[in-house]
Symmetry: C2
Subunit: 272 residues, 2 copies
């Protein structure tokens, strides 16, 4: 074998590592992980922008509180002066809009928002709405790609929670290799560490807590519900990663049964 020159060796090795990197990133999991982590970041960013708008605009309209950044932006975009605060324009806030509108219009002592100051605030509200629509776009992308690469898991749970499980696990293969108990605690690493190190209470759920079925249940049922979900997700993940067969209908059926069993047991215990 002829000895390769230093230059040849160098470019051969570069090519090789490029291929390796390429392979690692060409897995269909990768864009999902990027998209869900971008989504979570955008959620945080949007919250920061909302807080900032609230601190500024709130000087002029302290009454206008809402937990929804998008609604808040809509109000900013349509209300500059107290006279703008009509019932109609505040109707996005729901029931209280009439009371609010009357109170705001009649409050005479408050300073009013200057033209160019308002223009800055408007621009911030527009940026907030742009972030919101970016999140929608990402959500749509996630829904589509999660249902393709994890058909079984996403039949059982919300696609964003499925994507988060994938993100925490690192890849579909790794997720499939986890026992149910690990899946149950994915995303609760900090609490688990605290438990092991300082002896605080062990966590009962991580990412899965975001499932409405679990967070909405009674405190005593949540742990058992999380375990029931984790068990089925674990089976589903193996089907998604290896057999590629769609078995989620059956899984869902037996999951639903187990969930109602847990809920019933609890209510019986309360009765007795």
């Amino acid at each position: 074998m002829p000895k390769e020159s230093r230059e040849e060796k160098r470019s051969r090795l570069i090519r090789k590592s490029e291929e390796e990197v390429s392979q690692a990133f060409s897995s269909p999991d990768h864009p999902i992980i990027q998209a869900i982590s971008a989504y979570k970041e955008l959620e945080k960013i949007r919250g920061m922008l909302y807080e900032r708008m609230d601190e500024w605009y709130g000087i002029y309209f302290p009454e206008l509180k809402t937990g929804n950044p998008d609604t808040y932006s809509d109000i900013i975009l349509s209300v500059r002066t107290r006279e703008d605060a009509t019932e109609e324009r505040l109707s996005v806030l729901g029931q209280e809009s009439r009371v609010l509108s009357e109170r705001i219009i009649s409050s005479g002592t408050r300073p009013s928002l200057g033209e160019s100051e308002y223009a800055s605030l408007r621009k911030m509200a527009e940026a907030e709405k742009e972030l919101g629509s970016t999140m929608e776009k990402l959500d749509g992308y996630l829904k589509e790609s999660v249902s393709i690469s994890m058909p079984n898991i996403s039949y059982l749970i919300d696609h964003k929670i499925a994507a988060e499980l994938l993100w925490k696990a690192g890849s579909l293969e790794r997720l499939a290799s986890f026992p149910a108990s690990t899946i149950q605690l994915l995303g609760a690493e900090k609490a688990l560490f605290k438990h092991l190190k300082f002896g605080s209470k062990p966590p009962k759920y991580g990412v899965l807590f975001k499932l409405q079925q679990i967070s909405g249940a009674g405190k005593k049922q949540r742990g058992r519900l999380a375990r029931a979900y984790a068990t089925k997700i674990s089976i589903a993940s193996r089907a998604d990663a290896y057999s590629k067969r769609f078995i989620a209908e059956k899984l869902k059926e037996s999951l639903d049964k187990e969930v109602s069993r847990i809920m019933n047991q609890q209510s019986k215990m309360q009765e007795s």
Copy 2:
């Protein structure tokens, strides 16, 4: 005096505190403080979004690095496939665009960016650009309002740095009440605290370090330059807050003299 009913007393007190709050917020400083803190927050938010885009898009185009989020967004908006990476489209990156373009187009093993994945990234780039234009809007507003309420200070230093000093001080009156030494260290509170508590080196400048004239100078001159600036800003702030006379031309002249004296002394010391 007839005794007022409980109801009357209540509404009188509410009106009174509303007036007080109103007065506190009707100062022209207030919107400036809101705008500069919003600007700083947007800067942070934009950096977060940029990092996230870089992590995602960078999988496909690791060569495309730039410190400027806006340039990066421009590239994302015009380059999806390797074939898109023409010299022309990369020209925003400056000199290296030809080399980069050739390398990217010829690299065959890299995975390519899917249509709907790209749509998500595009949307993020658009949001980034929207944030950028919001920052421009705020900057314009700051420039205008700072030059109105702090004509003297903003004649000496950049309007955003002037706004930051105001923000750290809390109001123009407070800024005007500070000695030069305090103005010099505004924004370096943490470092000062560390110095007092742990005996680390005392800070030489806070917000003022952002002045190109200070950050661009030699390490040994910076402290003295910061003090020279702080002294003149302190005088200017009193004129802005109380006498309302425009004295900044004279101040600037003597400041420039002092700055060149400091720079010359240093170079003489180096020579000897």
